[in-house]
Symmetry: none
Subunit: 192 residues, 4 copies
DNA sequence: TATGAATGAGGTTTCATTCAT
DNA sequence: CATGAATGAAACCTCATTCAT
């Protein structure tokens, strides 16, 4: 009476994902072994394989769960008119998602090499390309394309690279968005 | 008397570095084994250990050799007046170095997780911070710091992410610099 | 009210045996996992353990069910006079059983190593020895013993090794029996 | 001074093959783990991988080494006239090879299932087919094909199945050949 | 200047099996 | 009658590294 044996309430799958992301982010994908994940959960390695069919499957599932909002954003973006206003909205929402799932995005940035030939590599690239295409105009001059791309990277850089010593998270987001907006504005010929 | 077996002359050390970087960049640091490097050189693994004392030592030596110019740039920057002109010069030179050693920089970006607890991780971060500090004004508002940081990332993004289908390398560098300049200009209050 | 999920009626036990033999024959005993069997039946592994107490138990039960006729044959043989006619009858009946339970016999032949230390290994050997003893005369010269043994192997070889491209099954059985008869005839000194 | 450390004189590769075949024959291919082989040699598993690139590679190398004579026999057979005399010679030589490499052939027979989808499976089948084709006449009636096939199986059966209690090895070989000859004789229409 | 042989640690994965529900 | 969750053991294999020669 009283569940002493299995501290996890029933959602082991979720726990695995949580711990895994934590370790992947901390140590890198390759350097994190399933043994470590299992140990930290006080579970056997085989238990992980009950819930996921491979190491790759773990990270893919986390990725899909955490980047679902981005899919929504892309879908939404495709239905909007390609105005400057839309683009700003996209950048704004995107930066919000980045805040919410910061560890995941940081992980993605730092482990590109490891993920390249996992299924996730392609998924990530696709997602980023989708967003880029919402921002860039196909026939714009190269410098404008760089501006749009940089707007995206400014968000990533500002939110992931800037440490907590440099301002409050919310402040950071504002500053980052200011710069990102500036870049797309320019790309649209809006100088001021 | 003709060197049939090992086409490379006498500088095995250099050859190892070349092949290693090639493979590290292509597959990632963790996924590239010493066996692979040795095989591609048609040499035994033990031979690698004659020239380098560990796998880490290989990558560190490559890193040091290839980022030496950046050291020079930082040293030079420290002696200059902190004018806008200086900063533009720094960005310009830095983008040149990035062009010259593109594979190395791409490798660094994609393998952050792997390098984090190698000696190299710290070195890389230092170098980037040094440059940031040459660009940023310590007491400037946060948005201006983001602008400077983004200038740096714009260069990285534009030169490493943009594929060869998007314009000629030299064109790309120009476009990238245009945007980077714009960002530091703004950071200096130069609007137009 | 309609059995949608499990198309097989109520006799799960039988279904397990069928699928198991199919897979064992196809892939080998060791290489067939309980997971595979369960999956093909759309049932959980634990369900298998409800019906059988171990993997070995599954194969043993199949073996016993399918080789029961051979027991009958041996029993019958023991009651007959040891005439040539009896031996031909035995070979004939045996070849019929082989036709009926071909997959099982093929499985037995191809998995001897795996079965050796399962209870089944001994059972199989016993059964074959029983039949051999019905055919061979204890004090006959060695060459005659080889003839009898070969008669048995001719049946196995002809019916299991010969592909379906080499004649119609019924034709094959006739040809095989012709040769087997020849061999026991000779063993009995009947030359022509 | 004095090689105390490594009892094996330098031909570890050969030792591995010997021990491996011994264990494979004794316990079966699947049930023999590399750990066991390594332990019996007092060597680490990794050492095995220095000499062979996989478990499969070990058995394949053994197979190739030990069945090389059969290749020679087939080559020789192809150059001879397809006379009855030639066929008897083939059976005779083949039975000799079987005596020399009995453990290997026994292993092959008992582990067909395991070997089926290893490279070795195909090789083995090929070799057997080559020999069958040297014995059989393509357009002969089915019963004659069975005779030739049975001649081959008689050799296998007699030499591998018959225990050491049933006559001296050399006697067995003679008896077996007598029966095998009888079968090909018949296949050639030679009655007496 | 290099090689050949080996090691020890550890990786991911799979398996037969159990048991509370 | 069957499932869902988990285990412990063991499998094959790879890696960075060492050292006598």
């Amino acid at each position: 009476m009283g569940s002493i044996q299995h501290p996890r309430r029933g959602d082991t799958r979720q726990c695995i994902q949580d711990v895994a992301l934590e370790l992947f982010a901390e140590q890198g994908y390759e350097k994190t072994s399933l043994r470590e994940i299992a140990e930290r959960l006080d579970v056997t390695k085989a238990a992980l394989y009950y819930h996921f069919k491979s190491k790759e499957d773990i990270i893919v599932s986390i990725f899909k769960d955490l980047t679902r909002p981005v899919d929504g954003l892309v879908a939404w973006g495709l239905e909007q008119p390609r105005t400057l206003e839309t683009k700003r909205e996209i950048l704004s929402r995107y930066s919000g998602m980045l805040t919410d799932a910061a560890p995941m995005f940081l992980f993605l940035e730092e482990n590109q090499a490891s993920l390249r030939d996992l299924r996730i590599g392609a998924l990530f690239k696709e997602r980023m390309t989708d967003i880029r295409e919402l921002l860039e105009e196909p026939d714009a001059p190269l410098s404008n394309q760089v501006r749009c791309l940089s707007a995206l990277f400014a968000i990533h850089a500002g939110m992931l690279t800037l440490g907590d010593d440099e301002g409050h998270p919310e402040e950071r987001r504002e500053a980052v968005l200011e710069v990102a907006f500036e870049l797309v504005n320019r790309a649209h010929g809006v100088t001021e």
